[in-house]
Amino acid sequence: MNVSYFVKRENLIVRIIGEIDHHSSEMIREKIEREYVRQNVKNIIFDFSDINFMDSSGIGVIMGRYKSVRERGGKLGVYSVNPQIDRVFQLSGLYKNKIINPYSSLEEAISNI
């Protein structure tokens, strides 16, 4: 499990490599929070290209980040979600309730978030 970041305009782009479950989610949450506090950005965009497993612990991580970005008037985005993980997002109503918006690429996410 590996978390890396970069900042582009008002967005913190977070790339996670590995699997998101209860075990890894604690470390993922901490790392993202620390970086978000440090950076002067509004939005968080998740790069999901290298995540091949996520259970509902990942939904908890997203909902938690939603609370953080809202305090700064920011939004959440995600791109390159594989079909199986997409179903977990759908099930949880995260797209429908506009908690996080799905995009097909980083460029699309940055221009439309």
């Binding site: 989610s25 199986q84 977990v88 099930l91 949880s92």
Partner: protein, 142 residues
Amino acid sequence: MEYQNSMKISFMSKSQNEAFARVAVAAFVSQLDPTVEEISEIKTAVSEAVTNAVIHGYEDMEGEIFLSCTIKDNLVEITISDKGKGIEDVSRAREPLYTSKPELERSGMGFTVMEAFMDEVEVESVKGTGTTVIMRKRLTSI
């Protein structure tokens, strides 16, 4: 005659074992030549039930988790149980978004995911005694 196979696993209630449990079940089920989607659904459902045993059943204290998997032709039955604190109100627990641990950033979607990804999910729980989740899925691949 129908094809049969079965296995049982027991392991400590450590969060490290969530990945172990789902990979072990996936490896066992892979003898049925499941689709990528089926394997992914089973892994996710197992991960949810095992995580619940770790977080809610034993509340991060040490305990043992029991998992069994049987195959009968193309039917997979997975049982995951703990001897932890149990669930007072199972139907409330199964509601989407209900969680007793929002402070841990749980989403309350665990049971909903299990139900969506498996054909049947049964929950048996006795307060103070433990919880057993039985999940069944018929694979299309055979």
